[in-house]
């Protein structure tokens, strides 16, 4: 057992801290809402700055322009960025897309998209969900029809986060009607602005635009922009979602630790009838208990990270870790609202808002985390079935499909 970082990891963490001191995160322009996951707001400028450091491609093979750094360096980077509250929103999505392209991307994707990711100039929205296909993703109706060396996509996606400011969509569509429900799907890398693509903003409960609805009306996509073996897209997607749960939540623990520090300061400095709030035993106990939660969460993610690094098979680990992350975030946000009391509801930028109004923002955004990327219910089922070997619930009899 060893819970320490290697010398190289510590040196890299220091390098990142120096970079952040030289480039204060709050000085970068923001393009899109901070969704509360811990990766901050969407900032193209910040992503480009990371690209200029060579950090976006540092773990890629040399043949793809990388430096073959160990995977743990990504964890070190994300942890430092989250601790600093940096706006690196799209980072995890970029890395995952890059990994998929490196693993099974076409020549064209490698040539056109990878270098753009390395420079921090490409970001991706996920076009999976549809109005009638949420948890039951396989109920999706978007279809891609082969037409010569192109596919023609027709359908309607929804809840696509930051689709309006990204450069590409990862559109998941049915490519053939096979007997087996989980076959015949493919993933397409579709450039924003492709004719026939209509991206419409949906205003979120925070008052900002985060989600989008995307109408695909005979969008023509070259066949070499399919990501992964055509028809086998669902397995690729599942693997991607598994990774998403890890990479898209890894930074939650350090980010929550950062919020906790602010709540501790607030409790220390806020007088309640003459004594600091911090002296209230219940406040002390709740803050201390969530500190232990955050420590445990961080360890659970590092443990999963070790399994991924060592190539060990994963069954339930990322699902369990994601649910724990999301529920801990909700717990901290609620505690924050409790501590702030009457000031809690004030929004960022409001007169008299405490802690920059970020707690009310966190409270609202974390509500979505147990829904996005697999609901807490679906994932608990997955832990039980895939992890513990409990029997699946019987599926309702399939409806005959209209032809």
């Amino acid at each position: 057992m060893n819970f320490d970082f290697t010398e190289a990891e510590q040196a890299f963490a220091e390098e990142v801290r120096l970079f952040l001191r030289a480039n204060p995160p709050e000085t970068f322009p923001i393009d899109g809402m901070d969704a509360g996951y811990g990766s901050g707001a969407h900032s193209r400028a910040f992503l480009r700055a990371l690209g200029a450091q060579g950090w976006l491609s540092m773990c890629w093979p040399k043949t793809h322009g990388g430096r073959e750094q160990p995977m743990f360096m990504k964890l070190v980077l994300m942890e430092e960025l989250a601790l600093a509250g940096a706006p690196f929103g799209p980072l995890a999505g970029c890395w995952q897309t890059a990994d998929a392209i490196i693993e099974f991307g076409t020549e064209r994707l490698r040539r056109e998209v990878l270098p753009a990711i390395a420079r921090g100039e490409a970001t991706f929205w996920q076009g999976y969900s549809e109005p009638d296909a949420g948890s039951d993703l396989l109920a999706l109706k978007t279809e891609a029809r082969r037409d010569g060396d192109h596919y023609v996509i027709r359908g309607h996606k929804i809840w696509s986060s930051h689709a309006g400011i990204a450069t590409y969509g990862l559109v998941f569509a049915r490519t053939s009607r096979e007997a087996r429900r989980s076959r015949g799907f493919s993933m397409f890398v579709v450039a924003n602005g492709t004719p026939g693509m209509d991206i419409r903003p949906i205003r979120s409960l925070t008052g900002e635009v985060y989600h989008h609805e995307v109408f695909l009306d005979d969008v023509r996509v070259p066949a070499d922009l399919v990501l992964g073996p055509a028809g086998e897209g669902f397995q690729a997607l599942l693997n991607g979602l598994d990774a998403d749960r890890f990479w898209g939540r890894f930074y939650k623990a350090p980010a929550l630790g950062r919020v906790l520090r602010q709540l501790v300061d607030y409790a220390n400095m806020t007088p309640v009838r003459g004594a600091p709030l911090a002296r209230d035993p219940l406040v002390r106990r709740r803050l201390a208990a969530i500190a232990a939660d955050i420590t445990a969460l961080r360890l659970i993610f590092y443990r999963t990270g070790c399994l991924i690094r060592d190539g060990a098979p994963l069954t339930y680990e990322t699902a369990m870790a994601k649910v724990y992350a999301d529920e801990t975030g909700q717990k901290l946000a609620r505690l924050g609202m409790d501590l702030l009391g009457v000031w809690g509801p004030l929004r960022e930028g409001s007169r008299w808002a405490k802690l920059g109004g970020q707690i009310s923002h966190l409270y609202l955004t974390t509500l979505g985390h147990t829904i996005a990327g697999g609901t807490a219910e679906i994932l608990r089922t997955s832990v039980a079935v895939r992890g513990l070997g409990l029997p699946s619930e019987p599926k309702p009899a399939a409806e005959p499909r209209a032809r």
């Binding site: 220390n268 002296r279 406040v283 106990r285 420590t295 832990v383």
Partner: protein
């Protein structure tokens, strides 16, 4: 970073698991829980042959020179098997105290016999306040002199040959080490649901000699802190092992108990409960290992250990309660193993500092100011709940 036990630790774990499966089966655990004495000499001797009671003791004193992390891994297996007895109190807590504070003569006299399992020692700390905080100790003792008073919740006093007693010498927190059969000492059993053997130990004009001091007068705080931390970690390990056992039993039951034409594990309500058990056990274990590793490496780990103990107390107890729900009525029976594991987890959660106690350590560690308590009228809960 590496979460896996070393090869040597893996051998320790698998040896312990196989040994306990053979020599500490559920029937024995049941029998000992109902037995007044609750101590199996043969089993204890066999454990000694494996070197377990001497795990923390250096080679030259007859031990096997393991680390606290080794102890934690071993105790986790003990918790999984539900092994009762004085291992934690004697081989972890009292042994740690002797290692930290014993004079060469005391160490030479006691540590080899503790390592060999020939003697058992326990700690007499808690008084009427119920607190594991040395500040709460009031028992006065002159050295040399006579000791009169009592200690409560002394674990396994009936099988102990030696008592480490926390006292005040001229007001200064100190420790003394006396044989349990010294005239004037009486051990009165308490009756606990856990089946753990707890005692009120009374001292009636007990002679205390100069060489009974363990460490110097006034060193009690410093000496006890390390041993209590080790004890808290061992109790956390026991909870994690117990909770792991509950998880295994519950999942097995969920797969085999059929209602409504299918295994109950095919219902989401049960599936989700089982998924939460996994999280509770794994998060508790992660905190435990990380804290034990830090302690074994000699790194500051006060807050880590406190987090591990407080967290395991909450989470592992939740596992036990959820286990009952998954099992249904069968787990209400005396002959079912679940309630015993549950009671043991509960007992472990309060020994060497309960959740409130350890969360206060964490509260200070995360920087919450604590100069003075709120005036009583404004406190939301009694300040008595928060020693320290």
């Amino acid at each position: 970073m590496d979460f896996r036990p070393s090869p040597a630790q893996q051998i320790l774990i698998s040896t312990a698991r196989a040994f306990l499966r053979q020599h500490c089966p559920p029937e024995l655990v049941q029998r000992l829980a109902l037995d007044e004495r609750g101590f199996d000499e043969t089993l204890w001797r066999r454990m000694a042959e494996l070197g377990w009671p001497g795990l923390l003791i250096p080679l030259e004193l007859g031990g096997s020179a393991g680390s606290l992390l080794d102890v934690i891994l071993l105790v986790e297996e003990m918790g999984r098997a539900g092994l009762p007895g004085p291992f934690v109190t004697s081989a972890v807590v009292a042994t740690s105290l002797l290692l930290a504070a014993g004079s060469p003569a005391q160490q030479k006299r006691l540590l080899p016999t503790l390592a060999a399992g020939e003697r058992v020692a326990t700690l007499a700390l808690v008084e009427e306040s119920g607190s594991f905080d040395l500040d709460a100790v009031t028992l006065e003792c002159a050295v040399p002199g006579r000791l009169t008073g009592r200690k409560l919740l002394v674990k396994d006093a009936h099988v102990a040959d030696d008592l480490v007693v926390a006292v005040r010498v001229g007001g200064h927190a100190s420790l003394i080490l006396v044989p349990a059969d010294r005239p004037g000492i009486a051990r009165l059993p308490l009756d606990a649901i856990s089946g753990e053997k707890l005692f009120e130990v009374t001292f009636d004009g007990v002679e205390v000699r100069p060489d009974d001091l363990l460490g110097a007068v006034g060193d009690g705080h410093e000496l006890l802190a390390g041993a209590l931390q080790a004890g808290a970690m061992a109790r956390a390990a026991e909870m994690v092992g117990g909770a792991q056992h509950v998880l295994e039993l519950a999942v097995e039951h969920a797969k085999t108990r059929v209602q409504g034409g299918r295994p109950i594990g095919g219902y989401q309500a049960i599936q989700h409960a089982c998924a939460d058990l996994v999280r509770d056990v794994e998060a508790s274990r992660a905190l435990l290992y990380a804290a034990a590793w830090k302690m074994a490496e000699g790194l500051p780990a006060e807050s880590d250990a406190a987090q591990a103990k407080a967290y395991a107390g909450e989470a592992c107890l939740a596992v036990a309660r959820r286990g009952h729900q998954i099992f249904g009525a069968i787990s209400y029976c005396e002959e079912h193993p679940l309630h015993l594991i549950h009671k043991r987890i509960q007992a472990a959660s309060v020994e060497f500092g309960d959740g409130q106690f350890h969360l206060e350590t964490v509260a200070r560690a995360i920087g919450l100011v604590s100069e003075a308590p709120l005036p009583p009228s404004e406190a939301t809960i009694s300040p008595r709940d928060f020693p320290g």
